[in-house]
Homo-oligomer: 243 residues x 2
Amino acid sequence: MAETKPSLFTSLSPALLHLYDINHTAVVIIDVLRATSTIATALYNGARCVIPVDSVAKCIELGKKIEAVIAGERDGKIAEGLEYGNSPFEYPREFIEGKTLVLTTTNGTRLLHMALERGADYVVTGSFPNLSVVSDYLLSQNRNVVLGCAAWKDRTNIEDLLFAGAVINKVKSHFTIHCDSSQIAETMYLKAKKDLFEFMQEKNATHYHRLMGFGLEKDIRYCLTPDVANVLPFYEAGKLQIR
Amino acid sequence: MAETKPSLFTSLSPALLHLYDINHTAVVIIDVLRATSTIATALYNGARCVIPVDSVAKCIELGKKIEAVIAGERDGKIAEGLEYGNSPFEYPREFIEGKTLVLTTTNGTRLLHMALERGADYVVTGSFPNLSVVSDYLLSQNRNVVLGCAAWKDRTNIEDLLFAGAVINKVKSHFTIHCDSSQIAETMYLKAKKDLFEFMQEKNATHYHRLMGFGLEKDIRYCLTPDVANVLPFYEAGKLQIR
């Protein structure tokens, strides 16, 4: 009986994604700080769609062509030539409603493109702000799942792992999980869930450290808050749109 | 002050080893189930040296040439053409004392050769049976450290992570650790340390599952026991020898 359930795997780094079969699989792109939190937030606040691109040059070119907001970061700061960055607070309803956002980031949008190149056909983005809707989506599909952590330049990070763990904690009874990375993720989440921010601080998580150095405590706290932008960004025909 | 300490990183998979600088660095090869536990045990029981090779063919060829014990596994079983496998119980003193062991394994010896190819100059092997001596070695060197998990066909596993965490727990005050993987390792170890075997069972660790299927509970229990073969296998001139 157990073996008839769909499988669930967690990929701890883009450099490990090739180990998992992602065809006919729901792939969740996870970049908690901050790309996928910001994508959920912009769509929740009424953005028409988010177009993830893998280079600053493409971002600028496409932005001009379709008159979109062009945004993105490299190494945690607004990339040169772009107008906006990677903070969810840059995309309130009064600014982003009805607009298209073209976004490029160091890790999250890169992983998304890697998944597409490998033939992923069901790609959504996940973050604490849309935890429940992502989990519900996975439960609603009778389909294998890969939770893809964007990490930081291929190094596994705590916050993406915690989000994977939060999803697993919600959906595990519906999946067959023969995957140590998934067990690690859930164990870490159960340890951290009482206060995710405090946990990140206590562990001196590298990304916590980096963003605190930029004065971005507010961003970190928001990006660790479940269900404050509960929409499902689904990738289709080059765009992330609410489904 | 903190920044003058040497650095410590944990590589969760051979596929991530390239992210870390391993020159002038102590690299600990970790393959808890069972290669590095067996290497420590064979040397502890008097083997003259262990020669790790990366293919069964090389193992057979070299074994003939130097009249050594040839051993190794593929997918957890004795590889075809070899005489012995990857169980520490195959190498009691009465058998292995004074002999040379040529060993090839799916993950551990492969990672060791990857590290050598990348120019690692201080390579040791670590496992629970030699936890304290490995930790003491790292403390005695004023040198950066990379803890390299052998994983299973590049997929991160719980037991190698737990060993990395056990080492970190012992040595952390002497190192600068800006590495989420290391934080994850120590957190997991602290959660598991009361009963490592029970933890592996509770999490249905993939390798636990695989070896239990082969009836190897005794091997798992031994390989999770600290300090029962407390020697330091140090790699030099093609051989692992006690240092």
